[in-house]
Symmetry: C2
Subunit: 145 residues, 2 copies
DNA sequence: TCTTGACCTTCCCATCATGGCAAGCCCCAT
DNA sequence: ATGGGGCTTGCCATGATGGGAAGGTCAAGA
């Protein structure tokens, strides 16, 4: 099948399929004489795997490792589990960062009258940070957000 | 003071100060005859405001709006509050997405023996998604993660 | 006064995953 | 055979940030 059909069947856009090929995440597809990429059901299966891993927040590099294990019949499930739990730890870290931001802002917003007067504790806090009743400060360096 | 000192004093890197100027988030700094940017304590004050807003996860566009209100003596605190709460909603949405990913993965990992055998429910799930006891599927389209 | 090192300037490139657009070729159905 | 839709490659853009190069400037010490 052509790339468009593979895209529809896998949920990965044609653009991304080419990108994954270009960056070596997936092997180069076979081509017709005219240069069209051709995909098998097996390929679509792999693309769906990738798509699903993206949905779970894995980076392309993480997926590269997952794919390696997936293809390895002699893999040890411990390796897969380690990868998954490492990713969970990253997710939880980011969640904590976002949570801190959200609670800080909610606390401030709760103190804001929200009327037609200009005085606002949110702006005051941005202007001159006060230690707030938030467990820990929100650090953005690791967040990528 | 020079850009380096302003950077140290505000917590915003010199690189980013130039970027903010270039994109119009902050007005062009005055210059010495030699072309060096010069900053006042007021400027550093504003940069700290920006830095703090970034720490709370606001995008540069969001900060643009916040700065507008900050500078506007006739602002209505309701506008600030609305901005803040809209951002909180975005944060909570993203948190929910990440949370869904994390719990899904944790559930799968809990089912994985994590030994030297190759069979692994994590890979099986990636291969052929099963409806899991997760409240909602994790959609990545809005996540930017 | 000269030198040196730290600072500043601009400009370009890279990140990460994704989308958009354009020019040009190909294939199938009518 | 022609038209419309699909395919190809290549370039550009995103958002916020860092890195580095090439070259100008400043201040302190010899």
């Amino acid at each position: 099948m052509n790339i468009g059909e593979a895209a529809k069947g896998s949920g990965v856009s044609a653009k991304m399929i080419r990108y994954y090929e270009e960056t070596g995440l997936i092997p180069p597809a076979a081509r017709t004489e005219a240069g069209y990429r051709i995909y098998s059901d097996q390929d679509v299966h792999m693309l769906r795997f990738i798509r699903r891993a993206r949905d779970l927040g894995f980076s392309v590099e993480g997926i590269r490792e997952l794919l390696g294990l997936w293809r390895d019949r002699d893999r040890q499930s411990a390796d897969v589990k380690r990868l998954a739990l490492a990713h969970v730890a990253e997710l939880r870290l980011k969640i904590r960062e976002l949570e801190d931001m959200a609670t800080t802002l909610e606390t401030l917003a709760a103190c804001c009258h929200g009327n037609d007067r200009p005085d606002c504790p949110i702006l005051s806090e941005l202007e001159a940070p006060t230690a707030l009743p938030t467990k820990k400060g929100a650090f953005r360096k690791l967040s990528g957000f």
